[in-house]
Amino acid sequence: MSEELLNLTLHVWRQDGPSQPGRFETHPATGISTHMSFLEMLDVVNEDLIEKGKSPIAFDYDCREGICGSCGMVVNGVAHGPQRLTTICQLHMRQFNDGDELWLEPWRASGFPVVKDLVVDRSAFDRIVQAGGYISIRTGSATEANEMPVAKAMADQAMDAAECIGCGACVAACPNASASLFTAAKISHLSLLPQGQAERLDRARNMVAQMDAEGFGGCTNHGECEAACPKGVSLRWIARMNREVVRSAVKSDSGVKTARR
């Protein structure tokens, strides 16, 4: 609980808009309490910038408790910073030392164009889900919930896959900027449950086609995504997605939906 004050140097990626060139800007962060969260540290820097009439650093945030998936940036080459299984909003400054130099960069990927500074456009993830990441059930037409038992082990596995918060750290950390972990987590979550069987074949191929159309890279099994994932979503779902895609290719008679961009 003991508090220390840190003086840090921030090298922050500044970019005015999607098509403008970016650059690093250096800002001191002084008197930073070790009890601050990383984003609170940036709040303090920003408030100071505003009072000096300078443009504050833009970064995404919302819930600040590690569940909404809004926040994310690369700190010294690591997505969400140095603490494992922790989003940047829950990362606290006690993980750093006085005098540290920190390089803050946005998620870099062609599928995630920069909006401004550290803010990127992750709408590609929404479009991947729109391509089939759901179970089609009309509101009000569901049958009694306990009619279809689901083995506890299966339900637990589905929940493991469903923990993804859609922050995009997997893409940011992947050497190929692949969205495989994100896509695989949703495909696995739904294909593990009996409710998800009817659309299973089409879901896998349509989501994968959309993932490719968004310009993300392919998986080359480095495992960086799993290491960067703040929710510990497992690589095994990518293996499962691959199985689902093969299954779909062998069994499905319908063609792939045209991916949208």
């Binding site: 709040d43 833009a58 919302d62 729109q130 919930a145 083995a151």
Partner: protein, 643 residues
């Protein structure tokens, strides 16, 4: 102003069916002729937009986040209640209804609450069919737990992420409609004003947060599912972006605001560690099942390490004051007592602004009794989260906790159809005041959001459209539209060009939060509220004079976004205090120190058994009070006691 609740009459269990039967319908082929705006994409908004789109209406859905999947419903941990009675422990729709009315301290509308309890079972069916991975028993059936002191196990949960999974279910249903072309999703787009034409809500004015573009969206009706106003306290468990802009703009156009002083405080949050603190993190209340709450008996001990304070110098205040319930007293009682002991200078932890606001939650006895392994199994995740944030290991040293604002029961006044006092303007979820009365039960927020979104709004919206049939065409260059757009642009200009710019918007927000938290928080009194009512207008004036927004309005400008939200909180905060001052009784989340008996809230059913619906009269601080009387046919008002 006329407040017509439009409740059906007759036996309560048939009211919703009866209402649906007598409602107007829109034929499937005609639905595509109607345009509906849904603001917000959380449980209520996401579910409503998805369901309405599926029915065939043209829906435009808006959210300020970069994706509809990020609405703050996602952060709900505990679970969702439903009267399924799967555990065979005597639960029923009536019992859930009864518990909710009683829990709300007899300040809610019986018909609405009964409908909520009835719909609760449909929600579980719907969510399971969508693939929400609820916890299950080994037999494969759904698991339940008892939550928030309920006498039955009716809470469904998905680990500690029930809100996330339910929201993703709604988000996926919404995504399906977006793919089908029935819902147009506008993310990173904030509603800045309502367009009212000919006495009806006909659209909204938005600002694209990426480009700064201000534009009108015209429709046949507007549904607001924009959440609560807990961030008026600055520090709360809400997301940083949560704001009252949409409901406050609606209020200023004539929508009555109901019961603003009903706010809920959650007792087990991680205390503030410094002035820079941006939000408070909630930890599940289940911690109180095994943790013991205490503070040092002597002021001299507050800076000592807790391990060094001998047993006899520890003040287990809840166990001493409430021997029957001990550490498991209800949320508001636990919260107020933490306030009182810290007021006496017995608070522990870091000093912020000259005060130590924290109490210990100690697991050492539980660890001795049950072993560290058992505690790890029960609370491992929470302990990890605590250590990540507070930097202490709760297996070794007691946690520090303190209450924080968590939920707001007040909101836009709505009738049984969830229509506000502006025709064509509906409100769902936390944005309305409807179902929780003066206090919300644990695991009922998710239930209400989804009931409104999936099952109530799709019917009542149809009823409204069926009644109005065709509305006159409203063009973008109509004076009413131009006026709304113009006023938004003028306001942005004013925010960006204060006469004497000095401080970022957070500076004022923190000050407002401090006033509201200390004078209209867990415990309120006349003197404090009157003081707050003198301070807030002054702060508001200062804000408009000194707020500093850098950059331009024609780009992503987060400072500008926050400035607009703070401006509205500065008005809503005042209304909260006016309401709290006017309500000369204690009920639920509203505790007036003048109205208590041995520390227990003292309700005054004779004088205050009504909903306070405040009407905007043209200037902040001068609202007009309208009353909707409440009557209780099925649950007779009784007094709470936990002694």
């Amino acid at each position: 102003m006329q407040l017509r609740s439009n409740e059906p009459t007759g036996p309560i269990e048939h009211r919703w069916e009866k209402h649906k039967e007598s409602s107007k319908l829109v034929a499937p082929a005609n639905r595509r002729k109607y345009n509906i705006i849904v603001v917000g994409s959380g449980l209520a908004g996401g579910a409503a937009a998805a369901s309405l789109g599926e029915m065939g209406y043209n829906v435009k859905c808006f959210c300020y986040q970069d994706s509809p999947r990020r609405a703050h419903s996602i952060a709900a941990q505990g679970g969702i209640n439903a009267a399924k009675n799967y555990q065979n422990d005597g639960d029923s729709v009536f019992r859930l209804f009864y518990d909710t009315v009683k829990g709300g301290d007899f300040r809610s509308r019986e018909s609405n609450v009964y409908r909520l309890a009835q719909l609760s079972t449909n929600i579980i069916d719907q969510a399971v069919a969508q693939g929400v991975p609820f916890a299950r028993e080994y037999g494969g059936l759904l698991a339940n737990r008892s939550f928030g002191g309920a006498q039955v196990s009716r809470t469904f949960y998905a680990r500690g992420q029930t809100g996330q999974q339910l929201l993703l279910g709604a988000y996926q249903a919404l995504s399906r409609q977006i793919e089908a072309g029935k819902v147009e999703m506008m993310a990173r787009t904030e509603m800045l004003d309502l367009i009212v034409h000919d006495g009806r809500a006909r659209g909204i004015v938005t600002r694209c947060l990426k480009t700064g573009k201000v534009e009108p969206h015209i429709a046949d009706m507007v549904v607001l599912c924009t959440g609560g106003y807990g961030n008026v306290f600055y520090l709360s468990t809400n997301a940083k972006g949560c704001n009252c802009m949409a409901i406050w703009r609606a209020h200023r156009h004539g929508a009555a605001f109901a019961n603003p002083c009903y706010t809920q405080i959650h007792p087990t949050c991680i205390p503030q560690s410094g002035e820079y603190q941006s939000k408070l993190t909630l930890m599940s209340e289940s911690l109180r099942n095994d943790g013991r709450v205490w503070v040092p008996r002597n002021k001299e001990d507050v800076t000592k390490r807790p391990e060094d304070i001998p047993e006899k110098d520890r003040f287990y205040y809840l166990e001493e004051r409430y021997p029957a319930f001990g550490n498991l007293v209800p949320r508001d009682v636990a919260s107020r007592n933490a306030l009182y002991v810290t007021n006496e200078g017995l608070g522990v932890g870091l000093e912020v602004d000259g005060e130590r606001r924290g109490v210990y939650l100690d697991f050492s006895d539980a660890i001795k009794r049950l072993g560290e392994q058992t505690i790890r199994e029960r609370y491992g995740n929470l302990f990890e989260m605590y250590e990540r944030i507070a930097g202490d290991n709760p297996y070794k040293t007691p946690m520090r906790i303190y209450p924080a604002t968590h939920y707001t029961m007040g909101g836009l006044w709505v009738d049984y159809n969830l229509q506000t006092t502006i025709p064509g303007l509906f409100a769902g979820g936390e944005a309305n005041f409807s179902d929780h009365g003066a206090n919300r039960l644990g695991a009922s927020a998710l239930m209400q959001g989804l009931a409104d979104g999936y099952f109530v709004l799709p019917f009542t919206v149809g009823n409204y459209l069926g009644e109005v049939r065709t509305l006159p065409e409203l063009a973008e260059d109509h004076p009413d539209v131009k006026k709304a757009v113009g006023s938004v642009e003028e306001r942005i200009h004013k925010l960006m060009n204060a006469p004497d710019p000095k401080h970022a918007p957070e500076y004022f927000h923190r000050k407002l939060g401090r006033i509201i938290w200390s004078k209209c928080g867990m415990s309120r009194n006349k003197e404090g509220l009157e003081e707050a009512l003198r301070e807030i207008p002054k702060l508001r004036d200062r804000f408009w004079r000194e707020v500093k927004v850098v950059g331009s309005g024609a780009e992503l400008n987060q400072t500008l976004e926050r400035a607009g939200r703070v401006a509205d909180f500065l008005e809503l905060g005042e209304l909260m205090c006016i309401d709290a001052l006017q309500r000369e009784e204690s009920c639920g989340g509203h505790f007036r120190e003048e109205h208590e008996e041995n520390g227990e809230a003292l309700r005054d059913d004779e004088q205050f058994s009504y909903v306070s619906a405040w009407e905007w009269t043209g200037a902040a601080g001068e609202p007009r009070l309208n009353q909707e009387p409440l009557s209780f046919e099925y649950v007779k008002p009784s007094k709470r006691s936990y002694k």
